[in-house]
């Protein structure tokens, strides 16, 4: 079980990191950008008719660092919830085991 988990994690890291080393020239931009390039190729007359809300409010593009801040907040919220609930589950399991143990003791 433990081995499988570790193997899984190692595999994930390998799949994620190998392209980074194997393709030194690649830009690793988003496939969104590639998407809008394709739009230009197959539908050159199309003009996007709306801009993201925050960009419109700011009147400029969201600065890269601020964008990464928002992404971190998103990750943080998610990880926080998962860790909190998982922590409770783990504690509960311990606790349930103890209770079973004491129940068995009092049966005797």
């Amino acid at each position: 079980m433990k081995k499988k988990v570790i193997l899984g994690i190692v595999l994930i890291c390998l799949i994620a990191l190998i392209p980074l080393f194997a393709l030194p020239d690649a830009e690793f931009g988003g496939s969104d950008d590639a998407g809008s390039q394709v739009v230009e190729e197959v539908d050159s007359s199309y003009e996007p008719w709306a801009a993201p809300v925050l960009e419109t409010l700011l009147g400029r593009e969201l600065p890269g660092e601020v964008e990464s801040l928002f992404f971190c907040i998103q990750t943080g919220i998610g990880v926080g919830i998962i860790a909190f609930i998982m922590g409770r589950f783990v504690e509960r399991k311990k606790w349930m085991k103890q209770e079973e143990g004491t129940a068995r003791d009092s049966d005797r």
Partner: protein, 248 residues
């Protein structure tokens, strides 16, 4: 504070800083303004029945079993985390996973549509990633088509008595992949003025699909790992939703 401790602190601070500065990259949803108004509304309307079904399904689950909110919150949080991580892929561009497979397997696809919509709203409003005008189309691909495929594949694997973990892996990975194929389809339907629909579809697919394949594999593995964790620690909840059999 000893010298050694100081050195450790400095090292940690540097690592934290370098990791905190993520490179700017945009991953994949249909961007704001990239679909004509009619299509925006059409995709949005198409999503409504699924979202309503999802809302009722969630309400029913929570009314009957209040304690399931933990698992539900976890499925939602999983989508939050997974869809915020942009991962480099073999094609030289970055993309992110969807994370909807887990929720679909545990709660059924319609419940996930609500969870997915929350994530898409967050990204559209704060990140300029996806968009409010295209939220219908994005919800359809990420929060409806993907989860339904995941769920279908999971059930199919159960019917065919495929190994449970293999089933979960396939469900999550293919659900992820389908999300991006549907996105390609949505784009090709609109943007084919300079070529034919087929050519445009192939072009969009070649941009999205190869990038997504390794990520789909990662998503499959992560989902299996999370389910393994839940099987160890959340047995009571998994039994109430019928994921684990009551027997034994």
């Amino acid at each position: 504070m000893s010298k050694k401790e100081k050195r450790i602190l400095a090292f940690l601070a540097v690592t934290a800083l370098t990791l905190g500065v993520a490179p700017r990259a945009e991953a994949m949803h249909i961007m704001e303004g990239y679909l004509p108004g009619g299509y925006c509304i059409a995709w949005g309307v198409l999503c409504l029945p699924f979202l309503a079904a999802g809302f009722f399904a969630i309400r029913k689950t929570l009314q009957e079993r209040r304690n399931l909110i933990t698992l539900l919150a976890m499925s939602g949080a999983f989508i939050f985390v997974i869809s915020s991580l942009k991962i480099p892929s073999v094609t030289g561009s970055c993309s992110h996973m969807t994370g909807t497979g887990l929720g679909a397997i545990l709660f059924g696809p319609s419940a996930v549509s609500i969870l997915g919509l929350i994530v898409l709203l967050f990204q559209a409003l704060l990140l300029g990633h996806g968009g409010l005008t295209t939220i219908g189309a994005n919800t359809f691909s990420m929060a409806i088509a993907g989860p339904f495929v995941s769920w279908g594949i999971y059930l199919l694997c159960q019917k065919l008595k495929v190994n449970k973990r293999a089933g979960i892996f396939l469900a999550a990975a293919l659900g992820d992949l389908v999300t991006y194929c549907v996105t390609a389809l949505q784009m090709a339907v609109v943007h084919n003025a300079d070529s034919t629909f087929g050519e445009a579809l192939i072009k969009f697919l070649t941009v999205f699909a190869p990038t997504q394949i390794p990520l789909a594999v990662i998503e499959g593995i992560i989902t299996v790992l999370i389910v393994m964790g839940l099987e160890t620690y959340a047995k009571p909840e998994l039994k109430t939703i019928g994921f684990l059999k009551e027997a034994k």
